[in-house]
Symmetry: C2
Subunit: 553 residues, 2 copies
């Protein structure tokens, strides 16, 4: 690889491009922007989460990774950090709130002491090898977000991070338009910009619109108010606190991450909660309902989260009562729609008044819509454009937007994760593909669940299995006992006795017909397996996994 | 049960209330409105589809089911018919197109000859025992839809079916406002009205807005156009055909149900396709791309449907090429979002220009939005109101709408499936709950997959299983062979040899420590199972199903 070349490499499987990790390399030195996780899709059975495959970096002996830069504190930008740090013990750069959220994770993984965590302020410039990184403040759905203007010998690359242009954000700190415009004036080689909402017309509403909605909610609520949101939505917690103060209600938090994040953000000054506003959860039941707000997690309908437990009546300290108002203040991660709907229905069943988008404006997106994306492009005025943070469908729409405002199609790189984008002598070229797969994290295992294990899980999930155990006399070839059948997930066994008796009869027939002739039992096992497979499929139209085990004694 | 009472009973599990089946009973005589299926949610593993539990009807010896009335030809209103007809060989009433779609199903199930299928026209009155059923034309996303005004000795009940108020439907046949207004004037005891879009503000756009969108698509497309939609969206097929005619393209259909439905709807006069407009699929490749439109199924990303196979390059006759335009002209059934997104991304990857809502207005909902729902309420002016065709969340919103226009809250019944609503002496009362569960259909099995089988499938899907087979001497208690471990879906076995060797070692230890003492092997099996469970959980943080089988010889 030429040493004059700048390479931009988004990593992370078939999902959103560069959302979880992007690598910039120059002269055998690299920085990593973000190290996040993805949530598994519904057919990734049993998987806890997914991280980008960064084996390309660990495999390169000639490459020195210098640092990891984090744009903001959401899981999809920080959740793979503990895995990346196992391979690369390099400094991590983050703003204060982001660092606070990262510290919670590192502490849990017992990696906090050995990690070199650098805190910077939006506007600071970080000199990292050949990379001069100018951070700039941007607005999103969490405070203290930054993007990066990265000056390299090959030119200036601007990475927006997740963003929207919010002129009136909840924390009052608008985006650094001046810096973006200044980049534009200076001359930008390439812009990498958030495409999440590239399919969405217009301009994403400001966070403060939620204040008005919360005001309506608090004004009309007669009983308790339960607000469910992401534990990392620090802005939203502040907005709820402000409404609680206005309407003389106390706030109690429930759920580990919610409690921890409130504590941390308050200590760091990102939450302004008067001391007497917050009460412990166990004091909630002592106050009249109209004086209570409960902050909880579980907006995605996750079965183990507080809100789902409340919906099912499984929470130790709390229950939903008629008159309660429940506010779902978060977007729904695609794939969770069914679970969220079930939670809403169950809460209504228990008598709660449930408010959610679009019934009430209790959430707005944190990502820029089409008009904002055009503004970003026109502020930064890049020579080359790389839409990121979206699947191909969103990147394609973002690409069309950029073309519409004058970026030539040849200057736009719509690529998938694992594709190198190279800059040399001021020109962009699409380089080689490197492994850009998902890595499944399941329990302690990172990457050990691959295609074959997943295929087996799919088969088991669909039709279960049948296990046949035979004990035979190795010399006479006679069954020493009745064939034993064990089955799960296939049919309801107590009502399928006839089916299994037929199967045992079929096994006895096969054993009687096909003598062992001294070559072990493999052939007999195969024959029984294939007979059972055919029989079960004909009788039930299902295809369970079938295992036959013959013990010769 | 008093014989003067009219009972309305929605059936069908935790899903949309009365969507798939509603029973009206008077004087021990009942009619069934719709007999549809639901698609399984993503955690209903291996299930083909779901039907309402109508065991309440089969269990009632004193009840005579007189007829099944179908509102329109969609699967969620007709798909359980073959199962209901097994229990009740009663006449089925449907309009001509609906009957055509039903006939295709009955023929497949070899039930056509023995079914008494009555065809009526919207506006006809059907006299069925104590029920005088006035059908009225309504608009939705399929032609020939009706609702019913059902006069009983207890009063007039109006059932809207699925509807929206489309003044300019694709087939030019607007809703029968006069009939609805006449019902209102006559005096309606109860209205059952479609709540699907009760969360949606405003007025659902007319179907003809799609003509404009298709016109833009056809004008701009340079290569082939592939339009994916539901095979039952007869209107949409007509609209595509009209555009094809305008732009001198030929249409070819692909997919069994698409081909069959086009044939049937053309024969019945619901599709007006000039003879030379339609060509067989195998002639497509002989025409220049700009003269071709292909109609396909697969808008939900179903792996076996045509569109998914095209996206993956698995179709025998066709492939997606750069320059192709693919139009996704259907709504996404909740739960299918991920699969649809993957299909869109893969089509883009192959070079197609993919158009879908909201990028292009190529689909509109077939259900009434809030302003239309209010119009329905004000036309019919019912004394009592029962929101149907929605989950509790939509029913609750529909209830609020009705309250807002003056229906007293006590006159509104927001209920779940399996709840009887009784009318006697002009008054409504909520009656008892009857079984209103789902019945899972899996292969040949109807209802045999219940909670325990589903729980096993969930466990197997999450962490797989480990099976240990031991052969021991029943007298000495010694192992006659190495313990055998068989595992699927748990870990990648070739890389987990150490883990399994540890497990075998643990088994040998337990066998050595705990003698059989003559009581069979049950205790030993339990001990090994619990040891393996603990060991695997500690080593992998996974919990596979564990089975231990000891053969004593």
């Amino acid at each position: 690889m030429s040493s004059k070349k700048l390479t931009v490499l988004p990593l992370g499987g078939a999902g959103e491009v560069g959302k979880n990790m992007t690598v910039l390399e120059y002269d055998h030195k690299a920085i990593i922007v973000d190290a996040g996780l993805m949530f598994p899709e519904s057919d990734m059975l049993g998987i806890d989460y997914i991280i980008p495959d960064f084996s390309y970096l660990t495999d390169r002996d000639d490459l020195e990774v210098l640092a990891i830069l984090i744009t903001h504190g959401h899981e999809d930008h920080t959740g793979a950090l503990i895995h990346v740090l196992e391979s690369f013990q390099v400094p991590v750069y983050a703003t204060r709130l982001t660092a606070g959220l990262v510290e919670v994770k590192l502490r849990q993984a017992k990696l906090l002491n050995q990690t070199d965590l650098h805190i910077f302020k939006a506007g600071d410039t970080l000199e990292i090898g050949p990379f001069s990184v100018e951070s700039f403040h941007i607005t999103h759905s969490i405070p203290d977000c930054v993007g990066f203007g990265i000056t390299t010998p090959a030119g200036l690359v601007v990475h927006t991070g997740d963003f929207k242009f919010d002129h009136t954000p909840a924390d009052g700190w608008p985006p650094d338009f001046a810096k973006l415009a200044e980049f534009g004036k200076r001359g930008v080689l390439a812009l990498l910009s958030d495409s999440t909402n590239a399919e969405r017309a217009g301009w994403t509403p400001t966070e403060t619109i939620i204040d008005e909605a919360l005001d309506r909610v608090f004004q009309n609520a007669r009983g308790r108010i339960i607000v469910a949101t992401f534990a990392s939505l620090i802005n939203r917690i502040q907005q709820v606190a402000n409404a609680a103060k206005r309407y003389n209600r106390k706030i109690a938090a429930t759920g580990y991450s919610m409690v921890e994040n409130i504590k941390m953000a308050t200590e760091l000054g990102y939450l302004d909660l008067p001391r007497d506003l917050v009460i412990p959860l166990d004091e909630v039941n002592r106050l009249p309902p109209e004086q209570v707000v409960i902050m909880s997690t579980g907006t995605q309908g996750e079965p183990s989260a507080v809100l789902s437990r409340l919906a099912k009546g499984h929470h130790r300290q709390l229950d939903i009562r008629p008159g309660d108002t429940v506010v779902m203040s978060a977007h729904i991660i695609p794939g969770n729609e069914e679970m969220v709907s079930r939670t809403i229905n169950k809460l209504i069943q228990r008598g709660a008044n449930v408010l959610y988008h679009p019934v009430e404006m209790v959430h707005v997106s944190g990502h820029a819509s089409r008009e904002e994306l055009k503004l970003m492009l026109n502020l930064v005025r890049p020579k080359y454009f790389i839409p990121i943070h979206g699947e191909l469908r969103q990147l394609t729409q973002h690409c069309k937007l950029a073309e519409a405002i004058g970026v030539p199609r040849d200057n736009i790189a719509v690529v998938e994760n694992g594709t190198m984008i190279e800059f040399e002598d001021g020109r962009m070229a699409i380089g080689e593909r490197v492994p850009g797969r998902y890595v499944f994290v399941d329990g302690m295992g990172v990457g050990d669940v691959g295609r074959s294990v997943m295929r087996d899980r799919e088969t088991l999930a669909r039709d279960g299995f049948v296990f046949a155990v035979l004990v035979m006399d190795g010399e006479t070839g006679k069954l020493l006992d009745e064939p034993e059948l064990i089955s799960r997930g296939f049919v309801y066994v107590p009502e399928a006795e006839e089916l299994f008796e037929d199967a045992r009869e079929r096994i006895r027939e096969i054993v009687a017909q096909f003598p062992l002739n001294g070559n072990g039992a493999k052939k007999l096992e195969d024959r029984i397996e294939s007979a059972l497979k055919g029989m079960f499929q004909q009788e039930t139209k299902r295809r369970p996994m079938i295992f036959v085990h013959v013990n010769l004694v």
